[in-house]
């Protein structure tokens, strides 16, 4: 059919601004941007050969992105107050309203459709692909006429219905239709599939209910969120999450290590242990020595015998200990990996131009709807206002380029400060090393070893406080050094506060890693060889226990000082500002304590229980302190960005502790007198022995293991993994490029749309005297659900509109 625009040749004299509503509603600023003289520009036609416009080079662009050139003959008298013009405005408005992109519901349904398709692409069985235009009539298509929906597909349909922005009544009717349609009687397999699926779904629902009833601290978290917003809340949520991931560790150790040990003691009526000459004094809670020593708390207590339980079934303690350790490390890495990946995916979606979008985020996403207290809301208003002011100030001033000399100076300054920081960290490491040495010498004076039958060593001067010197020093180092780092960072002149925070966190983390590694290396090398310490694993467990307790005490004190006392001093003493919750520092302390827990659980199996109790107490103390003493901070904080960073730090600590414990298992000789691995060369030797014992029964295992552990196989796996990573990376880069191209296409489509609409309006204005809007029927229902690539300026829309205007002639 003939193209409706082919015969018009002189559309270049129509004033542009008449037809573009954007110009109509333009502010004075925009209008003043137009050149005041009635300069005449021609239409530029990019790639529309069928139109007969003059092919002239485009006029100067007046605002970003618009190839819209100006056509004005007389600018002044056509701008305002023409009767004919307002009618055209209305026509244009109505035209624009019918565009698919303006139809909120259909656009949202497209969103629901993508959600649906994302799921169905992963799980579509029977080759069925669903369209989820969720209007009433289309439900029939969606369900498909043939078979019973199994639970999976029904769940997906429900998910799509939940995400439909219709009213509740509409959704309920959809659900009713879904459940009340005729079903063909299914075959046996399908029925079984269905019942299994429904059973699983019911199980999941029940789990969700259980999770709701057992929700820990829900009301407390709500109160905190109401007063302080999502930033401070993220600390408490992180604390709760750490608590929850310690619980599987605790259950595993209780079930497989502690319980069998207790059963063994019960069965054997063994008088080992619990007969120390020490009476229980309160000091043991702090030092972990004394009465606690020969108990299940420490590695040294556990037996190396095989426990005969019932009849011929035996329980090998050695094997159990090692495999339980492996088990909870594996479980932890799975949980951590999943959390990091989901957090990254949720919060770090591919940006591209992220920096410039900040202002849009500030306007559209900065209000925290969870805030409920009046004071918090007031502060949030102020904070948002300050953010805008800062943005306006930053946008207006020109960034002064630093001179070369300035940059050089800054560079050398930063090198110098980093060297200073490294020296400080090295000094603290050496201090720790020195203190450990002196403590070892003193160790014989007050240790009390009764684990083995090899007699009780007498103790002379009993001063348990000496045991605490090392942990106290380490705690002090960890608290005071960051203050010095803060001081140094003041000189480093960071422009962006985010990078300053980054540096501070990294330095604190490096400090803690250094002190811990010095300790661990010292324990592995010196202590395990020392004749004064009969059971070095118990010693290590005790040291870690003391570190945990002292860390806890320090946390309490620092909360007290930094929050309570500051609040009391605010009115009285000058220059003391109201305390705000120091999120980064507190979270780092939590991460450190968790690292201690992971390091110590192998050597002191009940340490995870102690850490859980510690976390519960810290939660309540911090919550009370925050609610009573602190005010919400006025500076903005990116809770989601920092959440991923903190998870990253946690993961790093986890890897380091795993490496440390693995080194201890594989390389260090266990002590002779105590523990499950007495007399063995290395703890790890249990595993080859176990495999050997299997070899006798199942000969093929040895060949399999031989093959799997051969260098060729491992090399092949490594090469395959490397190639897989490279391939995925290439795909990612390709997709990034595609995104860029699609973005450009989007801009061009927008330009298309404006161009075509103007042509269209001109045509309709020419051919119909009456207004266009009333004669044309609404178009949205005509766009078929499958055709989801109709762009706003799409051909379908234009063609149908053109048909209807020609038909209405």
């Amino acid at each position: 059919m003939s193209h409706p625009y082919q015969n018009t040749g002189d559309f270049d004299t129509i004033p542009m601004h008449q037809f573009n509503p954007a110009f109509q509603s333009a502010s004075l600023e925009r209008q003043s941007a137009l050149p005041p003289d009635g300069t005449h520009y021609e239409f530029a036609t990019y790639g529309y050969p069928e139109t007969r416009a003059h092919l002239e080079p485009p006029g100067p662009e007046l605002h970003r992105g618009g190839f819209r050139s100006l056509h004005r003959t007389q600018t002044t008298d056509n701008r305002y107050g023409d009767n004919r013009e307002t009618k055209d405005d209305i026509a244009m408005e109505n035209l624009l309203k019918r565009l698919p992109s303006r139809q909120l519901e259909s656009a949202a349904n497209n969103a629901a459709k993508t959600l649906h398709r994302r799921h169905s692409r992963n799980k579509s069985r029977h080759g069925a692909i669903y369209h989820s235009t969720l209007r009433d009539g289309d439900l029939e298509d969606m369900i498909g006429s043939s078979s019973l929906l199994d639970a999976d597909e029904e769940e997906r349909v429900e998910e799509a219905i939940r995400s439909t922005p219709a009213t509740m009544a509409t959704r309920r009717s959809m659900i009713q239709k879904l459940s009340s349609r005729k079903r063909k009687s299914p075959g046996f397999m399908k029925r079984m599939n269905y019942s299994i699926g429904m059973g699983w779904k019911h199980f999941k629902d029940n789990m969700a209910e259980l999770k709701y009833t057992m929700q820990l601290w829900h009301s407390h978290l709500k109160k905190i969120e109401g007063h302080f917003g999502t930033n401070v809340l993220s600390y408490f949520v992180f604390l709760k999450w750490l608590l929850l991931i310690n619980i599987p560790t605790l259950l595993l150790t209780l079930g497989f290590i502690v319980a069998p040990q207790i059963i063994y003691r019960w069965l054997q009526q063994d008088t080992l242990g619990y007969i120390s000459s020490e009476k229980f004094s309160g000091m043991e809670l702090l030092t972990g020595a004394g009465w606690f020593e020969p108990t299940e708390l420490y590695y040294g207590y556990y037996t190396n015998k095989t426990i005969q339980v019932i009849g011929s079934k035996s329980y090998k303690m050695q094997v159990a200990y090692l495999f339980t350790c492996g088990g909870y490390y594996l479980l932890t890495i799975i949980i951590l990996g999943q959390s990091i990946l989901s957090s990254y995916r949720k919060y770090y979606i591919e940006a591209g131009g992220f920096q410039s979008m900040q202002i849009v985020f500030k306007v559209l996403c900065s209000w925290d709807h969870g805030l409920t207290s009046a004071e918090a809301v007031k502060l949030k208003h102020k904070s948002v206002y300050l953010e805008f002011k800062e943005y306006l100030a930053g946008a207006n001033k020109d960034k002064m380029r630093k001179t070369m000399i300035d940059r050089c100076k800054l560079f050398w300054l930063r090198v110098f400060t980093n060297v200073v920081v490294l020296v400080l960290i090295g000094a603290s490491g050496y201090l720790v090393f020195y203190l450990s040495g002196t403590q070892l010498n003193r160790n014989t004076l007050f240790s009390n070893q009764t684990t083995s039958a090899a007699g009780v060593s007498t103790n002379e001067t009993k001063n348990p406080w000496l045991l605490l010197v090392l942990p106290l020093c380490i705690g002090l180092i960890h608290r005071i050094m960051p203050i010095m780092f803060d001081f140094i960072e003041g000189y480093e002149q960071y422009e962006i506060p985010k990078s300053e925070l980054y540096m501070h966190l990294s330095r604190s983390m490096v400090l803690r890693v250094t002190t811990l590694s010095v300790l661990v290396i010292y324990w592995y090398t010196e202590v395990s060889q020392s004749p004064d310490v009969p059971c070095w694993e118990t010693f290590m467990g005790q040291e870690l226990y003391r570190l945990v307790i002292v860390d806890f005490i320090f946390t309490l004190f620092s909360t007290l000082i930094s929050e309570l006392i500051r609040r009391l001093l605010v009115g009285r003493v000058k220059r003391v500002t109201h305390p705000t919750f120091a999120l980064a520092r507190n979270t780092l302390e939590l991460i450190y304590s968790q690292a201690l827990c992971w390091l110590g659980t192998f050597f002191a199996p009940l340490l995870s229980l102690i850490v859980i109790i510690k976390l519960i107490i810290i939660f309540y103390i911090k919550m009370i302190s925050v609610l009573q003493n602190c005010k919400p901070s006025e500076r903005p904080w990116r809770a989601t960005w920092s959440h991923t960073i903190f998870l990253g730090y946690l993961f790093l600590f986890y890897l380091l502790t795993t490496v440390a414990v693995a080194c201890g298992i594989i390389f260090i000789k266990p002590s002779i007198g105590c523990g499950p691995y007495q007399g063995k060369d290395v703890m790890y030797s249990v595993v080859p022995e176990l495999v050997d014992s299997w070899k006798e029964e199942y000969a093929w295992i040895s060949t399999v293991i031989y093959f799997v552990s051969s260098p060729g196989f491992i090399a092949a796996i490594l090469v395959a993994l490397g190639m897989g990573v490279y391939m995925i990376r290439t795909i990612m880069m390709g997709r990034q490029e595609a995104v860029q191209r699609l973005k450009q296409q989007l801009v061009l489509e927008g330009k298309d749309k404006t161009f075509l609409l103007n042509l269209l309006n001109q045509v309709t204005e020419r051919h119909t005297c009456t207004s266009v809007s009333t004669t044309v029927r609404p178009l949205t229902q005509q766009i078929s659900p499958q055709d989801d690539i109709v762009s706003p300026g799409g051909r379908v829309f234009v063609r149908s509109l053109a048909e209807s205007t020609l038909g209405g002639r």
Partner: protein
């Protein structure tokens, strides 16, 4: 206290569970909150059509602590109630908290966020909508010039087809890149 009267029939509860992002216990909790707002108007027994007919007035709903201090509270009530009157039935109330809950998907949150920011209800965020949003955010702290500058910048960044306003598609394009959106568009009940 043993309540022999059941508030909802099992079919109703199941329908609500399927339509919203809540479990049945949460739905009952929300019902108790709803009823506490107007105990004389809302009956215990909602097994009939009460969930769609009984409405609580606009200003009573706004006394809830979760909404009381929110600068967007009027708009929120308007968006979730029928015909924009602000008086909400239980189903609309449930719907509102379902969208604001933690389990709601990003897509449905962005749809309703768009509706909330669209003060004149025309399906676009034009300049006046954005200015009104700014006004609510800063409590009238910025001057008109500053507001114009910010709105210009926002349109420059987000308005892809350059028509001077943000359609839903452009809004969603921006929101899907905002990492904080899911956290901030959340009300705990």
């Amino acid at each position: 206290m043993g309540n022999k009267i059941s508030t909802f029939t099992p079919e109703q509860l199941e329908a609500y569970e399927d339509c919203t992002f809540f479990t049945s216990k949460e739905i009952l909790h929300i019902f108790s909150r709803y009823q506490a707002l107007a105990p004389d108007k809302v009956p215990y027994d909602m097994t009939g059509k009460e969930a769609q007919t009984v409405r609580i007035a606009h200003d009573v709903i706004l006394t809830m602590p979760e909404l009381k201090e929110n600068p967007f509270k009027d708009q929120i009530c308007k968006v979730f109630s029928e015909e924009g009157s602000g008086h909400m039935t239980f189903e609309e109330f449930l719907d509102m908290f379902s969208v604001f809950s933690e389990a709601a998907s990003r897509d449905i949150k962005s749809v309703y966020a768009f509706k909330i920011y669209d003060w004149d209800g025309d399906g676009n965020l034009n300049r006046s909508d954005l200015e009104a949003t700014l006004l609510k955010l800063t409590q009238d702290g910025l001057t008109q010039d500053e507001k114009n500058f910010v709105v210009d910048k926002v349109l420059e960044e987000a308005d892809l087809d350059d028509d001077g306003m943000l359609s839903y598609v452009e809004f969603e394009h921006v929101i899907s890149r905002a990492p904080d959106f899911l956290n901030t568009f959340h009300v705990r009940i």
